[in-house]
Amino acid sequence: MRIVVTVKYVPDIASDRGFQDCRVVRTPAEGTINELDENAIEAALQLVEAAGEGEVVAVSVAGPDGAVALRKAFQMGAHRGVLVSDDALAGSDYFGTAAALAATVERLNADAPVDLVITGMAALDGLGSVVPTLLAAHLGWPALNLAKKVALADGAVTITREADDVTEELSARLPLVLSVADTANKPRLPNFKLIMAARTKEYETWSAADLALKPDAVGQAGARTETLSAAPRPPRDEVELVTDKGEGGKALAAFLIRNDLV
């Protein structure tokens, strides 16, 4: 079982988010792994553990700070890490990122077959949720998205996913791209031995040239969308306190109507 997990380095959601030139400012000390990718790592580790053998390769497309995300993956138990980092990749949109990830998976696949790519359900800084599908399209593999339950048997993955009031069961044959929901599992806490091991564990750094990425497919040059502006939203308005003297229900209804919430 050989599984690639994509992990993104994102600003800590607890910290203030800043923008410069329409890009998220990534402060080294403040960044962390995209929490939703921890569910992907957990899913991968569980599959490898159930298989009794295998390898989990964490891959991050990021600046040098992406190492933070890889280290977190190591702490949870990932066996190998690849940081895809290159100035040429700066400014990549979903398409560019997916192209870089696909090239990485292809290179890994050339060494030894990759059975599965697992991603989180979204990145908490972009909330696009499209990279898994774009990645599958690049690879020509099936995509199973937003899995709540994952089962692997006889070379096929079957997932359960929940959308509104529908529960679906979907299945596809390996190799494939799978994104897992945050309800799919409870990511394990790193254990002390792995925390220590992760301190010195080496990851590989691959450049755009290593992956033979075309300059116009990635980075600012390859971006198909342009961010015109990005700024933090103004803080919320003062809360409206209503002391309930029998009219509380009416005040609440008026508030909901006024704000188009019903």
Binding site: L189, F192, K193, I195, M196
Partner: protein
């Protein structure tokens, strides 16, 4: 700023290496998810949550400071940080970690044969085998040298007789480290350790109930009536009281940190409550008397944390002396129980319920200041260190 950052008056945080912080944060996250939501109920019901033992083992908490045999092999500082976080949850659960790792496993690691280590330690590190440590007796507490339990070698078998009291986990343990007097080669009685599978006929453990302290953990009376063990059940190394004392020193060191977890949690509870609770038209936090309480508590905890860290660094350098452990244990226990009680006052009447942690911590700390050497005993150790005169008897 989080309250944790607020109460770290001397930025002790920055003295910690990244992996030390990660270890601490991991245990903190574990406590938040696995202990905090349930601890009031466990304490009320006098229930030891055996179901969380596998997760504790998974982190590497059991025998965390030991090398090899499936143990995590972490430094003294990391071990201390972990104990502090667990005890911020509850002293009873830290007590479990101490009994399993610092007492039972350490007894085997320090005094056991290679075979005994191989046989017991990996399972204990994995939480599959629970151990206990039987030193105290009904009539021998602070003065364990007067123990009455005996071990006699007859016909190639050891036969143990006697009684133990206050033995943590004994009723759920798989193996007990029992300290008993056996005749040495020159015919004088000497304290020796024995590995006693608790299923051995003649071994009975009865939980001590009801308790007003340490309710989320178990302590037992043990009776040993003609308990027959193979000849190789004896721990071969370190005959005499230095056998158990070496283990007690490990556990005491853990308490230096642990007690401060309970103190910090009490302080944070009081701080948060004082900001919300309005009396006489203002939050309690706005009154000078309350601020004095909070300031004194924060100062005491922060100072004691500096002491703990200093002792941890010394231990990692192999320079921690006996009197330092006594000083640290005495200091942390004193500070912690005082802070927990003071924190309770800020909570007013609500503070006597299990909705808030300080009184639970204070009650637990009555045990913490008693076991592993009482406040008085450690005071006497320091007195002896300073004066050269032993005043125990």
């Amino acid at each position: 700023m989080s309250t944790a950052a607020l109460t770290d008056l001397f930025d002790v945080e920055s003295e910690l290496a990244p992996h030390e912080r990660e270890t601490r944060d991991t245990v903190r996250a574990f406590v938040d998810v696995e202990i905090r939501p349930h601890i009031a109920r466990w304490f009320a019901d006098a229930y030891f949550p055996r179901e969380i033992v596998p997760a504790m083992a998974g982190l590497g908490l059991l025998g965390m400071h030991l090398e090899g045999y499936g143990c995590a092999g972490r430094s003294a500082v990391e071990y201390g940080l972990a104990m502090q976080e667990i005890e911020a949850g509850d002293s009873g659960l830290r007590t479990f970690v101490s009994v399993q790792g610092s007492l039972a496993m350490t007894a085997i690691a320090k005094n056991g044969s290679e075979e005994q280590r191989q046989r017991w330690l990996p399972g204990m590190a994995a939480g599959e085998i629970i151990g206990c440590f039987g030193l105290t007796e009904p009539t021998a507490g602070s003065d364990p040298g007067t123990m009455a339990t005996t071990a006699v070698l007859t016909g190639g078998e050891w036969v143990l007789n006697g009684a133990k009291r206050w033995i943590g986990l004994a009723s759920i343990a798989d193996v007990a480290v029992i300290w008993a007097k056996a005749l040495s080669d020159d015919g004088t009685p000497q304290v020796r350790g024995f590995l006693v599978p608790t299923a051995t006929p003649g071994f009975t453990a009865t939980p001590i109930e009801p308790k007003l302290s340490m309710r989320a953990s178990i302590q037992c009376d043990i009776e040993l009536t003609d308990v027959r063990l193979p000849e190789d059940a004896i721990l071969p190394h370190n005959p005499g009281l230095r056998g158990p004392f070496a283990c007690l020193n490990e556990a005491r060191y853990g308490i230096v940190w642990g007690a401060l977890g309970a103190a910090r949690d009490s302080l944070e509870a009081a701080l948060a409550y004082s900001a919300e609770r309005l009396q006489f038209g203002k939050p309690l936090a706005a009154y000078q008397l309350t601020q004095e309480k909070l300031a004194n508590m924060a100062l005491a905890v922060a100072q004691a944390q500096l002491v703990a860290l200093r002792l941890g660094r010394l231990k990692d350098e192999g320079r921690l002396d006996r009197h330092m452990i006594s000083a640290g244990k005495l200091n942390s226990c004193r500070v912690a129980i005082e802070v927990a009680r003071q924190a309770r006052t800020i909570l007013g009447g609500n503070g006597i319920t299990l909705d808030h942690s300080p009184l639970r911590h204070a009650n637990n700390l009555e045990s913490v200041r008693t076991y592993e050497g009482t406040d008085e005993v450690h005071t006497l150790v320091l007195g002896q260190h300073l004066t050269g005169i032993a005043a125990f008897r």
